[in-house]
């Protein structure tokens, strides 16, 4: 079990009526890695994630998560995963803390209050914890959303476009969170349409295009698909993002931005 596979997909197909969304997807995600599923809008990323998280049934092929088949053992799969969907799955009328307590109770964990407090602390939401989520910013919602997904320490985490619609600072906050998770041994499958996000976060990247995986490997492996780099001298101009982060003075953000 040294090279354990967290997610194994073979020949997965799914159509909506005449429209084939997945046309035979094969994918293998090693445990403890961050895996990015890269693709443009409508490539089938969300459909794949919904099948893996037992929300949709595939038409053909098999998918297993943490060793359990999604079609025949959905309960075991659900116990092993957490899904952070495209739209923040938080309860707006409850407070941040109540949202966390709710999920802890539904996962039947002991001491839901203590679990909630420690997550609020870890995600910098302690002060906002007593306020209704309706008053939260987009970034705060996303952080709460991810915090809710971590309750019960599921070994596999699905993040469907976790930074879509976020401002640059919130985006970097989410990136930091995801990197921390991988450090703890959680397998993360994230979908994104942002190339830099995949490049920045992922150990392995698969490109989903028109219902098929057309490339799959580490960033270094994918780079070899192109002809060898030609050396050119280009004056380094700061990107607008670098400038934005520098002038709004977000230390972490500027640091991360500079690293890239």
């Amino acid at each position: 079990m040294t090279t354990k596979t967290a997610i194994e997909i073979v020949g997965l197909t799914k159509s909506y009526g005449d429209h084939a969304v997945l046309k035979g997807v094969d994918l293998s995600v090693p445990a403890g890695t961050i895996f990015a599923l890269l693709g443009s809008n409508g490539a089938g990323k969300t459909t794949a994630v919904k099948i893996l998280s037992t929300l949709l049934k595939a038409d053909g092929g098999t998918a297993a998560v943490d060793g359990h088949d999604v079609a025949t053992e959905p309960d075991q799969v659900r116990a092993a995963i957490s899904l952070t969907g495209q739209f923040a799955a938080v309860d707006e009328i409850l407070t941040g803390r109540e949202n966390l307590v709710l999920v802890a109770q539904l996962r039947r964990l002991d001491g839901p209050g203590a679990i909630a407090d420690s997550l609020l602390e870890r995600f910098g939401l302690t002060e906002a914890g007593g306020k209704r989520v309706a008053t939260y910013s987009g970034g705060m919602r996303r952080r709460l959303d991810i915090a809710m997904s971590l309750i019960g320490d599921p070994p596999v985490l699905f993040l469907d476009e976790p930074t879509t619609g976020l401002d640059p600072q919130s985006r970097i906050e989410v990136w930091k969170t995801v990197q921390e998770l991988a450090g703890r041994g959680t397998t993360v499958l994230l979908t994104t349409q942002y190339l830099d996000e995949a490049e920045h976060l992922a150990d392995r990247i698969a490109v989903l295009h028109e219902g098929r995986i057309i490339a799959d490997g580490t960033l270094a492996e994918l780079k070899q698909l192109l002809p060898p780099a030609k050396v050119e001298y280009v004056e380094k101009q700061p990107s607008l993002e670098d400038i934005f982060l520098a002038i709004v003075g977000h230390d972490d953000a500027a640091h991360q931005g500079a690293q890239r």
Binding site: K50, T54, P74, A89, V90, L94, V103
Partner: protein, 253 residues
């Protein structure tokens, strides 16, 4: 898994009850329409309606109670729609919780919310001069019928709550239910209606339910109306439950 059904339902019930406590306006709006009708019919139209010597508020209350539930379940559908159209439904469905707990949480919340509205309406009716000599058993029978009626309409409301595409579509379904009591014995005796309308009024569920509750309040024998009302409520409940569960299952993987 069966022991978890109650635990999960309990957690989700408390969640939606908290929603209601934080927006008590939903209960007040639910009660306002029937209370307005009560005022309008008792103090404006009531004087011109001949119900055979009985006090009109006594005559009217049973029908108003049904209208209260019919307008209350619009919020049941709305709360369900909000969960389904936001991301939280998918979060719950991807978690290891009992499949039916999500629906039962909403259904029981609907029962609690509607009973609260009903109590409000009865209190207003009492202030307007509604009187009954009904004993504990008769009150329990009224409660039982209203509970069955609320459950039946709630399961009916689950269907648009799960399938509606827009907020308007969610609440639209309850309008016909609110107006059904107008073509029944709820406001005027059915004998005053022209032939075909009278036939419809006497054979639709509202009339038998209204007559049953009225007889219970007036300490009169319920007669066959009681069985017909019970049959309508239970029948409607079973059909609505089956359809709602089918809709729910088709929505799940």
């Amino acid at each position: 898994m069966t022991t978890y059904v109650f635990h999960d339902t309990d957690v989700l019930l408390k969640r939606s009850l908290r929603h209601i406590l934080r927006s008590p306006d939903t209960i007040i709006t639910t009660a306002i329409t029937p209370i307005a009708m009560l005022l309008l019919f008792v103090y404006v139209f009531g004087g011109a309606i001949d119900v055979g010597g009985a006090s009109y508020v006594n005559y009217l209350l049973p029908g108003i109670l049904l209208i209260t539930v019919a307008s209350g379940i619009a919020y049941t559908a709305f709360r369900l729609f909000t969960d389904v159209s936001g991301g939280i439904f998918e979060r719950f469905q991807s978690m290891p919780i009992t499949r039916s707990a999500f629906l039962w949480g909403h259904v029981l919340t609907s029962v609690v919310a509607n009973l609260t509205s009903l109590v409000l309406v009865v209190l207003v009716a009492l202030a307007m001069g509604f009187r009954t000599g009904a004993g504990v058993l008769a009150w329990l029978a009224v409660l039982g019928i209203m509970l069955l009626f609320t459950l039946a309409l709630t399961w009916l409301a689950v269907i648009p709550g799960l399938t509606a595409k827009t907020v308007d579509g969610v609440s639209g379904f309850s309008y016909p239910l609110i107006f059904l009591p107008f073509v029944s014995s709820a406001f005027v005796p059915t004998e005053s209606m022209p032939g075909p309308v009278q036939w419809f009024a006497e054979h639709q569920p509202v009339t038998s339910i209204v007559n049953t509750i009225r007889s219970l309040f007036e300490q009169q024998p319920v007669g066959s109306d009681g069985w017909i009302a019970l049959a309508w409520c239970v029948g409607l409940l079973l059909v609505a439950y089956a359809l709602a569960m089918r809709t729910y299952r088709s929505k799940l993987a």
